[in-house]
Symmetry: C2
Subunit: 211 residues, 2 copies
């Protein structure tokens, strides 16, 4: 998605150790107009997929999920990273390794909010090794929910998470896939986006407007 790629080039910062900081607009300070555009794009790509609920994980997925949910007209459920006394015992749980925070989290969703009737779209801001997504897929599987797909804002294409999910047949719609990034120059190359190149642009010309 050109809008997101341009924003990453402009305001993203490449750091040593394969770190891409997008905290100016995506996961610390949040540009909600941009988030709204991401949501509209996922709604376009997953139109007709029967999404009944959006599933994400705290914290930075929540804003993205809420802005997107407005375009789908469905609720958001976010998985919580630790047991809270405000959560009933009746929960699905799994474990997620966080490389960013260098620890393993217990992650949970109440059984009241995820079940066999749900068809979930899983959304998150980042996809690198895919550990958070594996956790969310596990929670959906425990609940008996079906998965329409996964929507990601920024995928690190040089790490294994995204392609591992695709190899399992899971539909992954990443709106920007970073193939290479250079901390010395700050240069970033993005993987060409089939959803854009095939249609000739972010919003393909509607049939009635083709001369």
């Amino acid at each position: 998605m050109k809008l997101l790629e341009e924003r990453i080039r402009r305001d993203g910062v490449v750091k040593p150790g394969s770190v891409l900081k997008v905290d100016a607009f995506l996961n610390h300070q949040m540009d909600v107009a941009l988030l709204d555009a991401l949501g509209a794009e996922w709604a376009r790509r997953f139109a007709g997929a029967g999404v009944s609920k959006i599933l994400t994980i705290e914290a930075s997925g929540i804003g993205i999920a809420c802005m997107a949910a407005r375009h789908f007209g469905v609720p958001v459920v976010f998985a919580k990273k630790s047991q809270s006394i405000n959560i009933d015992g009746d929960v699905y749980t799994t474990k997620v390794q966080s490389y960013t925070h260098r620890r393993v989290y217990d992650v949970l969703v109440s059984k009241r909010f995820l079940g066999p009737a749900d068809r979930v779209l899983i959304l998150d801001d980042f996809l690198a090794n895919g550990c958070a997504l594996e956790g969310l897929l596990d929670l959906a599987a425990q609940a008996g929910a079906s998965v329409a797909g996964v929507g990601i804002a920024v995928e690190k294409g040089f790490q294994r998470g995204g392609d591992a999910l695709r190899a399992r047949g899971i539909r992954v719609e990443s709106l920007a896939i970073v193939d290479t990034m250079d901390p010395a120059s700050g240069a970033i190359t993005f993987r060409p986006d089939p959803a854009e190149t095939a249609g000739g642009g972010k919003y393909p010309t509607p049939p009635e407007q083709i001369p």
Copy 2:
């Protein structure tokens, strides 16, 4: 705000120990249409207050803040609850006691995203003892930002947080204030809302329509 009070009566659950669970629509599963209405209401109440940024704290404040920010046309910054290697060292930090999680969090905001030019609206889902808000006010003060006010979805009026803030001259706009709740019967009484009773309803009749 009647819409929110009715939703709390319908889907909220009163538990022993002054616990009010609103996780079916506000802070685990999120009804984004409701969140959008809350955002519109804060935008109405804080119109002309010069809000340039919305400040909240992870995790459950984020969805509320993002949906509201759309109505203000400003970015969201959320305070993070622990040091992450993805955050630069250049941060404002404070400590927040969480009664829900029975621990003290280090909370931080990058200095790049909060400064003297900012006039912040602080938003959160819940206000009870006010510890999270005290932390956010401290971060704003460290940054030299001015505070337009505080917007809360659900205030527990029988705990000290809200009135302590008001006594300090801080404008607090809570969209539902629970004055009493009874775990045996589930009954909830709300504090009358001046913004509604004075104007005769959630949306006062515009002057040009008054006969």
